[in-house]
Point group: C2
């Protein structure tokens, strides 16, 4: 069994341990030497170049992704060549373009914030007028971790983006209580498995902490599971689907974003679930029966480690962190540290949320102090 | 941080996932292309050749082992060259030669079965006469998984081995209730951490099943922990030390064998402990603070998968096994299947031992049926 992953970031990196456990031959097409997934990189090249990707894909049973940026024409060339691509290009298109995503989610009656495609300042002004004078504006493509997202309160607030061409997505500012995330995995033959709904805390548009399961959630877990399952089925997603959600002021759910790959809000599952999102993604794209996503502890808390101004690596701080918190699981992505860059994460599990949170924060502080 | 592992078997393979998690650069000197640890193999060569091993070792912070077969003259050359070797050659010597092991264990007052070094049939006959006419005879070096071990009841029962030169180890046949195994890890600065004592079931001299923790063990866990800690300290072991034990008919403990590396009886810890033996071994040889060896579930059961006559690989049987037991953790070593060869293992965890055992056996049956 041979899986090819396009992209050599930390998501590809974290697919390697379960591939080793299961005896799956994992191969990575990385962007550069010394990528985060270098240990499994069998090729280094440009994922926007069809010939490069085709040459990489010919030796594997299925191609999957570390990110959503492979162009549709490259994906089409793979499919035309007989390569099995999961998720398939039609599904991936929904995750690649936020306007396509809003259209498709609206078409399948999944609740999303009020939105409009806006082509210029005048249309943005009209949207603002209808939504209390403030809105979120997003570039349809290429945004991540708060990039390509902006809150505006004037019609000319996105003129720089309009100047680069194309339309933008304007969305209402949702009055939400908190952010949640529902991950499911689906295999081509139809089986779907869901992890517990989790709560995510964002800082500056970047995921900072995840609590699994989401505390005080009432009936939301069941509703989120049904919603994510329906999205996975209607969009024909294979592999892991992450559905980022708002819990609205009225206690409902609205879809914020989708990702069709393992997701930051699922990293807790490596240490806190029977089957991690990375193992499950491999099973799903190989059309193997899915593993049990049940949690192994009452509570798991995942905290991202962001690069600091000093540029230190996580391992430099291991002596202090490991001595203080021998039970916290440490994950370093072996990436060059830059301020704000995700360079690793830590996970603590426990019988009480407060305790797991305190221990995870104590460990994370060694890397961010 | 860079760790070099000599030997490309499944133990080296299983060190790779925790190295990836911790961002440790792991490099393997493998015996052959397509070794079990091929994903981390940076060199292929003969571990008995000092120049080969020196060239491999020069780029790493510490050298450790997948097996105990690196000759002492090669280890001495490494140390002379300034390479950090853990466990150190003097400690490893005890695991390399069963006669040295019995002498050292006797010298530190660790209880072992009655034993003698025998040079010929006459001496073996004298030992038999003193021990009821039956004894276990072992070749001092190179034995594993029942190889190099034989029960004899006549003075000429080991003549073929005597004919190859050298002395043999003769041991009393211990009247034991069951076999147990105590794993500890020790780092150079002195910290020692112990996993729970486990029960091991052997078939044909090969570890078949492991129950963690050992059921109905009374005070044995505390005694085993103290014994293994003392052995680790007195022999100056660094890394993981496995102490294979007999629970004697009188309810005491006697040391059967030692191994100074991750051990088959610790594989359950990958899925059943906060810190696995493979992560702990990496921490220990890097002199990092040790992780928490506590179990994550009340019971874990590990069952080895041995190659069958059909030579099928584990992944070929995944569809059935995964559909039937989505919660059992499957491990394939990506080794060519030969009858009786360890090609993988499965681990089930649970609140009840009987339940975990039944589920592990159900999963294992798919690979051995």
């Amino acid at each position: 069994m041979r899986v090819g992953v396009i992209g050599g970031g930390q998501l590809a990196r974290m697919m390697v341990p379960p591939a080793i456990a299961l005896g799956i031959d994992i191969r990575v097409l990385a962007e550069a030497e010394n990528s985060s997934a270098a240990i499994a990189a069998t090729a280094v090249g440009d994922y926007t170049d069809a010939a490069t990707v085709l040459a990489f894909a010919r030796d594997v049973d299925v191609v999957t992704f570390d990110h959503e940026h492979v162009p549709q024409d490259v994906l089409a060339a793979l499919v035309a060549d007989g390569v099995v691509v999961r998720p398939a290009p039609d599904a991936l298109a929904v995750a690649q373009d936020k306007l396509v995503m809003r259209r498709r989610l609206t078409a399948i009656d999944a609740r999303v914030p009020d939105w409009a495609e806006v082509a210029d300042a005048e249309q943005l002004g009209a949207f603002l007028a209808d939504h209390g004078g403030r809105a979120v504006v997003k570039t349809p493509r290429g945004g991540y971790d708060g990039k390509g997202v902006r809150v505006v309160d004037a019609a000319d607030g996105a003129d720089d983006w309009f100047a680069t061409g194309g339309t933008l997505l304007a969305e209402e500012l949702v009055d939400f209580r908190r952010e949640l995330s529902q991950l499911v995995a689906r295999r081509p033959s139809g089986e779907v498995r869901a992890w517990p709904l989790v709560e995510t805390v964002q800082r500056d548009g970047v995921c900072a902490e995840v609590f699994a399961p989401a505390p005080r959630a009432g009936e939301l877990p069941e509703r989120a599971r049904r919603l994510a399952t329906r999205i996975a089925e209607r969009l024909d997603v294979t592999g892991v689907l992450a559905v980022e959600l708002f819990e609205t002021a009225e206690g409902g759910l609205a879809v914020n974003e989708l990702a069709m790959r393992p997701h930051n809000t699922g990293h807790w599952s490596i240490d806190g679930a029977v089957t991690s999102q990375f193992e499950q993604h491999l099973r799903a794209v190989l059309d193997l029966p899915l593993g049990d996503p049940s949690p192994t502890a009452p509570w798991s808390v995942m905290i991202n480690v962001l690069g600091g101004p000093e540029g230190q690596t996580m391992p430099e701080r291991y002596p202090g962190a490991m001595a203080d918190r021998p039970e916290v699981k440490l994950h370093s992505y072996a990436k060059t540290s830059r301020p704000g860059r995700k360079v690793g994460h830590v996970t603590a599990t426990g019988d009480e949320l407060d305790d797991a949170l305190a221990r995870a924060r104590a460990a994370a502080a060694f890397f961010q102090g």
